[in-house]
Point group: D2
Chain length 140, copies 4
């Protein structure tokens, strides 16, 4: 079974451009966060609810490969998948592309670690881990 | 007695530019926040400590006039003064200029309202109000 | 004839929150920019095309009044109208609200000045000024 | 010979915090950019001048490992080194720490590719490549 892919689209804001005339690279991490929020919503919960329940996902690693530029007012598409779930971490993969042309702009991966409101690393509740893991499309 | 003026300087970040080749206008509100943080530190406290004590300053009004552009790597100077203090509000004025040329880039004013951790409007403690008001340079 | 109102909606990004737990105030200027971009698109052109034709709109004044807070994942609605057009300036008004509850979060106004690619203030072409002015809903 | 290390310090802005009460992770890429700008200045040129001469450095890859949190008003230190230089790319490494406590907050690496004003990949001029490479502290 292939992993679930969620897709979200939005336009590049003027605020996100830089003097090279393209979207500044750090914004891609924010776009990943939008993809991740959307992907978690597809699980039937929301990251907002997770936080209210005291399960906070803090980014512990991120890697990005930039392939082509995004410009102001371009429609961006972020496709998010869950790559891996362990007792305390979850890895999301992202493909960022131009929604009009289909051109791939970047790929990225982020590892998130589960912490509580005091910032202590904590295991996912079993039901949540099962739900998160279902998304990866295999028995991981 | 003239009001106390505090001065802070920093460089324009590449991230702050937009495709016009200048610093994006919303960043000026962030620069005002840097000036304000610095100005409060000059009172012998810090905004961080104020928040830890449960006195939160939320921006309720802001106005800005943009006069000239700032460019990447320009050294920016923010001069902050306290314009007015009431039982529950404080108004800061800002002059933003190019620190090298002295050219004035913008003027701004923000009104902040004192709230507690629950977001309820609350009066400044008397000692703090007195300390804040001393800065305005008159008997207000 | 009432002025044309354009409406755009989007969710508050995690990146836009601050440690008060609400959307940081400077983001509202970015949200106004999203409203403005959308409003100009409703004219049958786009701000991107205007810039490509050498008509650049630089923000010369901004004022904001903050009424209530926006939180992560809230759906935000920005309603934009053209308040006034002169030979070289255009004033946009914004009402920012929570799209779910209808609660008004902020009102804002920005004045933009027409400049060319060299940064020189320049009058709008007559046809564009007429088109922009039609939106104000009167004979201004 | 060890590589040259450049060090720059600045405070965490309120705007950079998120509702977890810490600096939002995407800002670390901006902090790397500040380190990089500072590091290039130490070469006796500046990135601003490089761009004016038509040598643009676009980020093609980035990786970050987040170790500990940064909080509002913390003094941040970014130490930047040049890890590797090829005919068309340069890799910078960063160590981000709390300047007061010395605690390491993050490590990061970015690969930048040399492009011209049209966005075409282009080799560094020989003199610049030599100058950039001298920083790596070996014969690479």
């Amino acid at each position: 079974m292939p992993p679930r892919v969620s897709t979200v689209e939005f336009r590049v804001r003027y605020a996100e451009t830089d003097q090279m005339g393209v979207a500044y690279h750090a914004n891609y991490l924010i776009w990943c966060e939008i993809g991740r929020t959307d992907h978690i919503r597809g699980l039937g919960t929301s990251y907002r609810e997770m936080e209210e329940q005291g399960i906070i996902l803090a980014v512990s690693e991120a890697s990005l490969r930039f392939i082509a530029s995004a410009r102001y007012d371009d429609m961006i598409r972020v496709e998010t998948t869950t790559a891996r779930v362990t007792s305390r971490t979850i890895v999301f993969d992202y493909v960022i592309s131009n929604a009009q042309s289909g051109v791939r702009l970047a790929t990225a991966s982020t590892t998130l670690i589960s912490i509580d409101k005091q910032g202590k690393v904590t295991a996912f509740p079993a039901a949540m881990r099962a739900r998160l893991a279902r998304d990866t499309g295999d028995a991981s």
